[in-house]
């Protein structure tokens, strides 16, 4: 692999995807401290919202410690160089949330849809582009469609006004060859001015390798999370990725020691549980299941006596997609009834 001199724009997820691992309970002080540390380390983009994006506050996904408005209002004024992004899942959040985010100074809006359903993003991508925001189309669970299908859906998002398209490995299922193939085809087929991004999860231990494969195949934006704080076994641990980028002499602009210190001194002490490839997180990657299902499946196991692993494998069989957290309790109840436990 030769990525020497290649431009890489890193994007931190610890304050958005990390909200899943923290059951959306990160405090305002913690948000500001981590974001400030990342800003000083040279992180160009930092995502801040509920784990399920703007408007994610709900019984289904969890009520956060603070509203999106409160988090964004606390973090954005403190940033010297870093820009702040917000995630928006049509079907959960609306254009009203998007306007609110824009008004609070959010620079980048990332409109997410399941990788075969990009046509639900037209309203939101269209508005963000019209507002001259940095507008990203985010194709979730990209392991569930062929490279050709991913390109077709990416073209839709591009046509609505997205200037960057992500191939998102929400389940942490992909191996490097699949990343190479999908990112490579996106790079070859999309408008040359459209940036390509990759978002990984570490459920199969592949997040760093996959991110490097993505860069090599033409991705410029790479998501990760300081100390890996994210759903499932976490996102690509940014301090590890930065160390590899230093050795490979890519152009990333991050101070390695500073980001290592943010990980060790600020983020690890915040963790409610170790972010690691335990058997349930591994099952997410193995079975191709949305990473934020992890803690819900563990809670269902505790409540109904059905192993989280069995629930997750069945959710994989059923082709469950992002956002279907409600299926977990429903399925656990059905499985518990079948076993005569309730």
């Amino acid at each position: 692999m030769n990525i020497k001199g290649k431009k890489v724009v890193l994007h931190d997820m610890s304050l958005r995807d990390g909200m899943h691992a923290k059951r959306h309970q990160i405090s305002l002080d913690q948000m500001v401290a981590v974001a400030t540390g990342l800003d000083e380390a040279g992180m160009p983009l930092i995502e801040v919202t509920h784990g399920d994006g703007l408007g994610g506050t709900s019984v289904n996904y969890g009520f956060p410690a603070h509203s999106d408005e409160e988090y964004l209002s606390a973090v954005i004024p403190k940033m010297k160089n870093a820009k702040v992004s917000a995630l928006l899942l049509p079907g959960i959040g609306t254009v009203d949330h998007l306007r609110m985010a824009k008004d609070l100074g959010v620079n980048t809006i990332r409109v997410a849809a399941h990788c075969t359903e990009a046509d639900v993003t037209e309203q939101h991508i269209g508005l963000a582009a019209k507002l001259e925001m940095d507008t990203v189309g985010f194709l979730m669970m990209s392991h569930m469609a062929t490279p050709e299908k991913i390109v077709e859906q990416a073209r839709l998002m591009e046509s609505y006004g997205a200037n960057c398209i992500y191939c998102t490995d929400s389940a942490g299922y992909m191996l490097p060859d699949e990343v190479t193939e999908k990112i490579g085809l996106l790079r070859a087929e999309l408008n040359p001015n459209t940036e390509i991004g990759f978002h990984g999860h570490h459920n199969m231990g592949m997040a760093v390798a996959n991110s490097l494969a993505a860069i090599d195949a033409g991705a410029i934006r790479i998501d990760g999370s300081v100390a890996g704080l994210g759903a499932g076994a976490g996102n690509t641990p940014l301090e590890v990725l930065v160390a590899t980028l230093v050795r490979l002499e890519a152009d990333h602009g991050i101070d390695l020691y500073k980001i290592m210190d943010v990980a060790e001194d600020l983020v690890v002490p915040m963790m409610d549980q170790p972010i690691r490839v335990d058997r349930d997180a591994l099952t997410l990657g193995y079975a191709g299941v949305y990473s934020s299902f992890l803690l819900f499946a563990k809670r269902a196991e505790a409540k109904y006596g059905i192993q989280a692993r069995d629930i997750l494998v069945e959710l994989g069989h059923r082709g469950t997609v992002g956002g279907q957290e409600d299926m977990i309790e429903d399925l656990a109840l059905t499985m518990a009834k079948e076993k005569g436990l309730i």
Partner: protein, 308 residues
């Protein structure tokens, strides 16, 4: 005297066609016209083959025939953007509008919760909320009829194949309209709605989750009885409406997990989301026809100059 009210369907897509097939079995409503905008479209062709008059000139192509064909009921299955104009033109001629789009310019109608009241008041435009609303609001209402609900949340999951271009282009209207009706009809102080589109093959049945947060500890026995009774009410017009799990009680949370299987009239049975809309829309029109036939309401006088 023929007790059936004559009806027009605007929008020959999936919903319109399914509605037409159900209407042909109705004792109270007779489909006469199908309105589209492309004479070569599959929908208009199907309607013609089923013996229905068609126009490809939109609602304007229908207006000259309203009085001569005695059209009394219109079903709008187009989009929120054109509904207001369709409704204005037809209401002027004394046609009652049943709105299957998310436009929601008239009051929301969820048959087992508030249809009787709308029929008595002869509302000239009633809105059928959304598929997710029809499937879940009866459950919210079943809980709120027992004790106050401070927050009601619904999650509707539909198969990719049953989510048409209208829903996809208008996904914010779905969440807004449904959340608003969870409050106004369901009786929750605050409503929230989420929709998920799932592309799995074979397509999954429509499924819906309803979470209510009650004020104070939920009265488990009374809520369970109310929920089970409401499921039976919905099953009267949607036989494939099922409570799969619940009500589950967890602190002040009450959760119901539903599944909706369609009749498979036009689209396959997994499209319970379409079925529950068309069945609820038709049920609404039938109630107006029954009330008119029983002399409880008087149908609107025609507003056209020709009739004066």
């Amino acid at each position: 005297m023929n007790k059936k009210l004559k009806a027009v369907i605007i929008g020959p897509g999936n919903i319109g066609t399914d509605l037409l097939m159900k209407m042909k079995r109705s004792e109270w409503i007779e489909p006469v016209w199908m309105v589209g905008i492309d004479s070569a479209s599959d929908g208009l062709t199907r309607a013609r083959e089923m013996g229905i008059k068609t126009t490809a000139e939109g609602v304007d192509g229908l207006l000259p025939h309203i009085i001569e064909d005695d059209i009394r009921i219109a079903f709008d299955a187009t989009s929120a953007y054109v509904h207001a104009e369709n409704s204005r033109k037809l209401n002027e001629l004394g046609v009652i509008m049943i709105d299957l789009t998310p436009a929601a310019i008239g009051p929301f109608c969820v048959p087992p919760v508030n249809l009787v009241q709308h029929a008595k008041e002869l509302e000239m435009n009633v809105n059928m909320v959304t598929c997710g609303g029809q499937a879940t609001i009866p459950m919210v209402a079943a809980v709120s009829s027992v004790q106050p609900v401070e927050y009601g949340e619904i999650i509707a999951t539909v198969s990719s194949k049953s989510a048409g271009p209208g829903t996809r282009k208008n996904i914010d209207e779905f969440t807004r309209t449904t959340a608003s009706a969870v409050e106004k009809v369901g009786g929750a102080e605050k409503g929230k709605a989420i929709i998920i589109i799932n592309p799995a093959e074979p397509p999954l049945l429509m499924r819906d989750t309803v979470h209510c947060l009650t004020k104070g500890q939920p009265d488990q026995a009374a809520i369970t009885a109310s929920v089970l009774a409401m499921v039976k009410e919905v099953q009267k017009y949607v036989p494939g409406y099922r409570l799969v799990n619940g009500p589950v009680f967890d602190g002040n949370r009450v959760s119901m997990f539903m599944e909706v299987e369609g009749l498979g009239d036009y689209l396959p049975k997994y499209s319970g989301n379409l079925d529950i809309m068309t069945a609820a829309g038709l049920r609404t029109a039938e109630m107006f026809a029954e009330e008119a036939n029983n002399g409880n309401i008087t149908l609107p006088a025609r507003g056209s100059v020709e009739e004066i």
